[in-house]
């Protein structure tokens, strides 16, 4: 299964769409959003760094599902079924691929924050933010896998893009919640993306993530996890 993980990570990193959408875009948007308008607001530079790292991680996590849909269409999943690998190993390998391929986005945006925007944090905070964003991306990988197993390659692309944009904007990854109208601001805390970024911003502000954040994220973890499992069961034996 490690061989499968290595193969799929390699394939993902060679995907120009992945590198641009999952790594270059979040970094560019971060630098743009924090340096336009001459804003020299250090707390926004930190908060946006975490938000954009979360946005990039979510995009990469969802992209895992795009890979599944692609491999369903080109027959690679079917070919894997006639190798000695078990279906469980294949789907686990895919989920681990997602876990590895979210790292470039997280690390690139944090690096841009530290190097270009001069964000200064204690070493343990950097490490904790990276780790929490990494773990917090798991629900999004499951959502992507759910889409990828359930939908065709084209509709998976559209579904992932839709999930990505709605959750990024409503969750406050792109713009601070203070710019939102009241009703939207009341919806945001229920979005997984909002709580996902909160894992990082809480640490940057020097305290532990709130119980609310953990509860909301656990709820989405279970919801997206069940979605992934039912999607997988629906199609795994017919690919």
């Amino acid at each position: 299964m490690l061989g499968y993980l290595r193969l799929e990570v390699r394939r993902t990193l060679r995907d120009t769409g992945f590198v641009i959408g999952g790594v270059v875009m979040p970094v560019a948007m971060y630098l743009l959003f924090t340096n336009l308008g001459g804003g020299d607001d250090d707390s926004w530079k930190t908060a946006s760094m975490v938000g954009m790292a979360a946005y990039g991680a979510m995009g990469s996590a969802l992209n895992t599902g795009g890979g599944v849909a692609e491999d369903k269409a080109n027959g690679w999943l079917r070919q894997l079924r006639v190798t000695p690998m078990t279906p469980r190993q294949v789907v686990t390998g895919r989920a681990l691929t997602g876990a590895v391929t979210v790292l470039p986005a997280i690390l690139a945006v944090l690096a841009a924050g530290g190097v270009v925007n001069g964000v200064r944090l204690d070493a343990w905070k950097w490490a904790a933010i990276a780790l929490l964003l990494w773990l917090g991306s798991i629900p999004f990988t499951l959502l992507g896998l759910g889409n990828g197993y359930r939908l065709t390659a084209q509709t998976t692309g559209v579904a992932n893009l839709g999930c990505n944009l709605v959750m990024a904007v409503v969750g406050g990854l792109w713009f601070p919640l203070s710019l939102f109208p009241e009703w939207l601001r009341s919806v945001s805390p229920y979005m997984p993306t909002n709580r996902f970024a909160q894992l990082g911003t809480a640490v940057a502000d020097g305290h532990a993530p709130t119980l609310g954040a953990l509860l909301v994220l656990t709820f989405w973890l279970l919801a997206f996890g069940s979605y992934a499992v039912t999607s997988y069961r629906m199609t795994a034996r017919t690919v």
Binding site: G3, R6, R10, R11, D15, N74, W76, R81, V82, P84
Partner: protein
Amino acid sequence: MSFTGAVKTFGAVRAVDGVDLELAAGETVALLGRNGAGKSTAISLLLGLHEPDEGVVRLFGGTPEESVRAGRVGAMLQDGRPVPRVTVGELVGFVARTYPRPIPVAEALELAGVAELADRRVDRLSGGQQQRVRFAVALIGNPALIVLDEPTAALDVEARHAFWVSMRAYARRGHTVLFSTHYLEEADANADRIVVIDRGRIVADGSGEQLRRAAGGNLVSFDLAGAGTEGLTLLPGVVSVEVRGDRARLRTEDSDATVIALAERGAIRGLEVVAASLDDAFLALTSPSDAASAPSSPPSPPPSSSANLEAV
């Protein structure tokens, strides 16, 4: 491996309809049939990709899934498109590690005729090269049984030839090979045994020579020279009559009796007796209800005109 009364339906279509079949170790077997005859479904059952609705499919004494997990099977599936963004070496090397006793990657690439492509990306190869990479993927695990579903569909003549050279080299190592095709010549040239499948059922099973004989033996043709065709169907042995231009072509189960009867009618002009071609055999076997009117294609050069009838 064996199929016993296997049935698989998709909606109202009985894609595989009561198939009984056994393969012996070391055989090269062709599964021959038209498009939609049930070849791919039979292969999916064999590989455990589908479960039969009725009947049993066994591979090496276990279920297909057990045999696949144990690495006894390698397969080249139909209409697989290339895996994007991997090199040939990476792909074949990865599949090798999933099998318990693979052959060396270099050897597999050599056997499949793609050794010089190891560092090329699979999605940037020609159709023929991709097909041979897929063959390398099927054989890398050194499986006892290798299954090839329409391996040469959509290949040009040259690529097809290169593919069969590789396949025969692999079969000579003592592996059991099952391939499906709708090309008669391919089945005849590359298999020890041909299993003809039509509408989900096996309609014939034997060597190419046996199939030719089973399909109504010989083809007797002669110039009509203006004479009518009435009564020809009633001649001894004749199964069907076809007239092309001024020439009558009689398919017969007993060419001796047919020729004697023709001589008695004084009808022998430019007489020719040949074994029915495999094309004729195939048409006769796969459309039994309208055999008499089936258009037969021109006979290819027959290897022998022996008239022994043999039940297959």
